[in-house]
Structures are given as C-alpha cells and as structure tokens.
Symmetry: C2
Subunit: 216 residues, 2 copies
Amino acid sequence: MIVMHTTGDRAAEPVLTARGRATRERIVAAAAELMHERGVAGTSLDDVRAATGTSKSQLYHYFADKAALVGAVIGRQVGQVLQVQQPELDDLGSLAALRRWRDRVVEVNRHTGCVGGCPLGRLAGELVESDPSARADLVAGFGEWREHLAVGLRAMQARGELAGGADPEELALGLLAAAQGGLLLAQTHRSVEPLEAALDLALAGVAVHLVVSGDR
Amino acid sequence: MIVMHTTGDRAAEPVLTARGRATRERIVAAAAELMHERGVAGTSLDDVRAATGTSKSQLYHYFADKAALVGAVIGRQVGQVLQVQQPELDDLGSLAALRRWRDRVVEVNRHTGCVGGCPLGRLAGELVESDPSARADLVAGFGEWREHLAVGLRAMQARGELAGGADPEELALGLLAAAQGGLLLAQTHRSVEPLEAALDLALAGVAVHLVVSGDR
DNA sequence: CGGGAATTGGACCGATCAGTCCACTGCTGC
DNA sequence: GCAGCAGTGGACTGATCGGTCCAATTCCCG
C-alpha cells in the first residue's frame, strides 16, 4: 500500500538507463522545486531546461510530454512530503505524538516562510480539474498520508487510549484536511498562525474521543 | 471592515459608465466562472471574449490587463462565497447554528459535485506566489469570512455558551482552515466526505469550549 | 576496438496568448 | 442636429510555449 511512485504505468518504461537515471532524477528534482515555487503553469519546460543545464531533447527523451513530467513530480513530492514527517508520522500513537507531529508540520513551514504551501495541495489545486491522471495520483498520495495518520489513531484505539466509538479513518481525514487548509491559509497569510489554529482545533476534536481524563 | 471589493485603487476608475457597467459586469461574471472551472492560467482572454460575445478592445477598455480582471474576479468571488452562506453566516451564535452552517457548506458542494472547490481557495493556490496584489485581496477576502465566523463565536461567548477562555478569533481561523482543507480534498476526491470529516472534527474542537454540558 | 543503443545538443515549427492599434458606431447633452 | 466621447469590432504583433526532428556524441558490451 506504500508503493509505486515514479511515473506509473502510463507506458512501459523505456526499459533501460545508466547515468540517464541521474539526469532524469535531476530533471524531476528541478521541476518539482520550480513547480512548487511558481506553480505548474508558471513553469515552462525551458525553465526546467535552464535549471538543469539539459537540452530540450533530453526532456522529451525521459518524458513523453509535460504531463508525464508532472506525473513524476507528483510522485516525488508525495515521497518528499512523507519523508519530511517521517519520524513523527511513524511513531504516532498517542495524543502527545500527534502534538509532536503538529509541531513538526508547523516548524517546517515556519522555516520555509510558508512559501509554496504544501507541495501536494499546491499541485492538487492546479491540476485536479484539468488532468484526470494527476488527480488520481494525488488521491493516492493523500491516501498514503491519511493512512499514516490512521495507523497511529488505530494504535491509540487498540491501546484503549482512544474511544472505541471513534472512527480513525474519519479522524485521519479530518486531520489531513485541517493540515491542508491551514497550509493554504498560512501560505496566503505568510504566517504559520492559521496552520497552528487549524491543527490545534482538529487536535482538540480528536482529544474529545480520548478515554483517559481529557488532559486538554 | 467589510468594505472595498471591486478593483480597489489600482488606478482611479475611468470615471463614468452607462450600459458599459453591464458589459463590465458580464465580463467579470464570465471570467469568474471560467477561472473557477479551469483556473486562472487555464482561462485565456479569448475564452472570456468568446463566452461574453465581446471584443478584445472591450476587455482592455474596462481592465488595464489580465491582472486587473483577476482582481475584479477575486472581489466578485468574495462576495459570491459570502452570499451563498448568507443566512447561516449572519445567524451564527450557537453550536446548532454552526452545524447548520456546516450543513449548508456541505450541501452547496454536494450540489456542484465538488467541481472547482472553493472559488477563493482555488484562486489563492494559483495566485498567492505570483501576484502580490491578488494575495492582499485574498487575505482581505478570507478575513471577511473569518470575521463572520468570529462574530458568531463572540456572540456565543457573550451569551455564556462558549467558555471565556476560548479565543473566538483563533477558533474562527481554525474553522475557516478546516473548510478550506475539506473543500480542497473534496475537490480532489470528488466527494463531500473529506469536507464533512474536516468540518465535523473542527466543530468537535469548538464544542470542547462549550460551557453547558457537552452535548457532543 | 568496433558497433549499436543510449544520451545529448539545439534549431525549428505551429499554436496560443497577452496586449496594441485604429477605425467605426451609437448614444447624449447642448 | 452636431460635436464628442463612451463603447465596440477586429486585425495585427511580438513573445512564449509545448512539441518535433535530426544530427552529433558518449557509453556500454562483446
């Protein structure tokens, strides 16, 4: 369930590569960064070409078209986003751990000055209506993220910390949405305040289902 | 604090108008719809021209450039978004009323099939990084929305329904973020489920601060 | 070392787009 | 009824962009 990033199965991978893999990787990395900063539409293939010191033919050697490159960028960003939250996301299983995750997300964004917001959210807002394939990839990416949160919540539930009546899937979805909305507003306001408010409110909503007291 | 939509003060309005106002309005309305469906970058001035049956010169007669048109669209969408929630947003002052607002937002999106998501959120994601002026307009727009929510929460607090320790501003910001995130995920998933999860979780977070019992 | 495939360079093309320009029309006030 | 300006039509332009093509080069492998 935590598999298949890369391009996927749009077309049988051109079979082989050598240093070409490095070039391809360089292209995807630069494209991801540019698209995060300027958006997909705001990033021309010439920009990518210039940023990587490659030629037009290389872009089209490794990717069928811009859409394919965007697909690869989505895959990379999904991995990137999850990796950044790695430690906190893997060790989720108590309200305190959820709070550490919250702090991590906030800290990362404070560090970047809230520029670009969430890479996934950014791509979603721009691509969902125009690229069905990208939409599917993003649904899968958000699904992975949500699943990580759900795993933690289920662990809490199994340990009896979370009430049996609570729905981990739904709570995870709510937390993810809070993060996305907070990130979008933080990006707009250029301040982490909305992100903190969003996550704190969602966390309070989760805390309602806590079994032991309600440490608030 | 609930003022100045329209273009703003980018340049002294060209003074007069007659039926021209109708044409201008027609242009803004069509541009708003197109940009909501296809995004700003995905909407060419030629698309707007075709949709309104106007000519290129009219577009540039009423707007200095595309950015100015976008500015007008933002103003219109702010008004539109608030108008759609009008009754529920004006009569906010109890948890039950907040729930009615939640239902309203969900219902509106169910009706549109979640296409386009939130007009403001959509514009924000696309413009924040590239157009400082648009960013300012969007901050103001979100501010109005947030303020409506805060007014309701403050009313609850004044009536003693909400604990004195609660921060209406922060809760309002969290609710707005929950709505934005839920809307974005709903748009991506083409389902209102994420929106419901996001708003329910945020509402639960608000309910924590309720004074009377905790009807949950 | 030789041959074929992977890789790379970069000119080129057609489409599209924001923005310009000028000529025409029709209303309005004097 | 006529002068003048808001409103309109639409051709045109320069730039940009995604995408194509072909030739040169480099690398791998027998």
